[in-house]
Symmetry: C2
Subunit: 240 residues, 2 copies
């Protein structure tokens, strides 16, 4: 039996201000909770409707009813497990490989998908501008499918960060050089801009290499969704 105050606490973590106040966040689903348990994230409490589906430290998991799980969950169909984890201390950014930097990505689904892409393409460090959506937002976590366990996400002032790096700064702009014919370096920073407005002016001034993704067909759409554009660019970076 889970107490009312516990349910209230867990539900409060749906809001960013309470996540910051407590330094904790909620994830749901067997797969994601298990991946976080296997990572450097520190669990605070784990609730589960089935004693046999998780590999976890003894005493950490509390078995609860489906009714109680439903009370805590943000999902229409809760998936057996809910975990509360502590925020991760951001690690030092390693400048020995490509780094992805997000300039005000607002859509939680896009951020989650991009975290999953970083994981797939072995991009260890993801920089987010301060106005980028919170990576502990439930919708981000759902779209990232546990990949948050393997990507170091750091919220920072992008302009300040770029000032202090010697890495080349890449950004996509219409009508610039095709990414297909660009020789990409072994390391650099790839900037992806906001869904509606693209890369901000202040960050844009610091781009050293403008590239474009070619489009095909006579009257094609002018833009790609930012997550699919990121997929194409990370693929280009890694395939060389």
């Amino acid at each position: 039996m889970v107490g009312k105050s516990q349910i209230k606490f867990i539900k409060s973590l749906q809001q960013k201000k309470y996540r910051i106040q407590y330094g904790m966040f909620v994830v749901e689903g067997i797969k994601t909770v298990q991946e976080l348990l296997n990572s450097h994230f520190i669990p605070h409490m784990i609730f589960c409707t089935d004693p046999d589906i998780l590999v976890a430290e003894k005493g950490l998991v509390e078995i609860i009813s489906e009714t109680d799980l439903k009370k805590m969950s943000t999902l229409k169909n809760p998936n057996k497990v809910l975990g509360v984890f502590k925020f991760n201390e951001p690690q030092r950014i390693d400048e020995d490989d490509w780094i992805l930097a997000l300039d005000d990505i607002r859509d939680p689904g896009n951020l989650g998908t991009i975290i999953r892409l970083c994981d797939w393409f072995g991009i260890s460090h993801l920089l987010c501008s301060k106005n980028t959506v919170d990576c502990y937002n439930p919708k981000v976590l759902q779209a990232s499918m546990g990949s948050i366990a393997r990507v170091n996400i750091v919220y920072t002032d992008l302009v300040e960060f770029i000032k202090n790096t010697r890495l080349p700064i890449y950004g996509t702009y219409m009508n610039s050089n095709s990414i297909y014919s660009s020789t990409l370096p072994k390391k650099g920073i790839l900037i992806m801009g906001n869904e509606a407005n693209g890369i901000s002016n202040d960050v844009g001034k610091m781009i050293t290499s403008k590239v474009s993704i070619p489009h095909f067909g006579a009257n094609a759409t002018e833009s790609l969704n930012v997550a699919t554009a990121t997929a194409i660019l990370l693929n280009e970076i890694r395939r060389t």
Copy 2:
């Protein structure tokens, strides 16, 4: 002033069964409605809160209040224009280029993003299995950002279609040949599978070329979102 029965009719088109009954669908937003007006889709009625923002045939556009627009809209913040269009007659599939085929894609956001990708990469024909989400679903249309105006979408039995084509059939499978080292032909059919289950067994048996998207990093995620995987594969097809 818009009548109650008109509003009821428009709202009914949010459901697939009424879309099929009337052979019509609703799109919202200036950009998407304008793109459909410029395409081969036939408008049935267009509502607009501002007389000067659309380029349309005289007499086609009815100027309405924001209150009335809100009553018809599925959006929290309706965007000035709402159009009702007639279903498009599917065109003949042209087998002279790459064709994308979706095997039971269920998420409307994924289908919309994939339609936008087809538009970007000049893929004119998109085959959808009968269980793929309806392309006139409001969430699909919103994610496709008007690209539905330029992509011929045909719902069909994929197995039957493949039986009658001589094109090579490509599908992605873990641990198969890397797409980077595959020499891709000038034309073919690329199959993308369901979000949870991948390519179905019946369609899988007909694949002639299995390829994989390489992943990087030691403990990477096992899977990519289907829309981002489609982005990478269409990019590989076009970049050669």
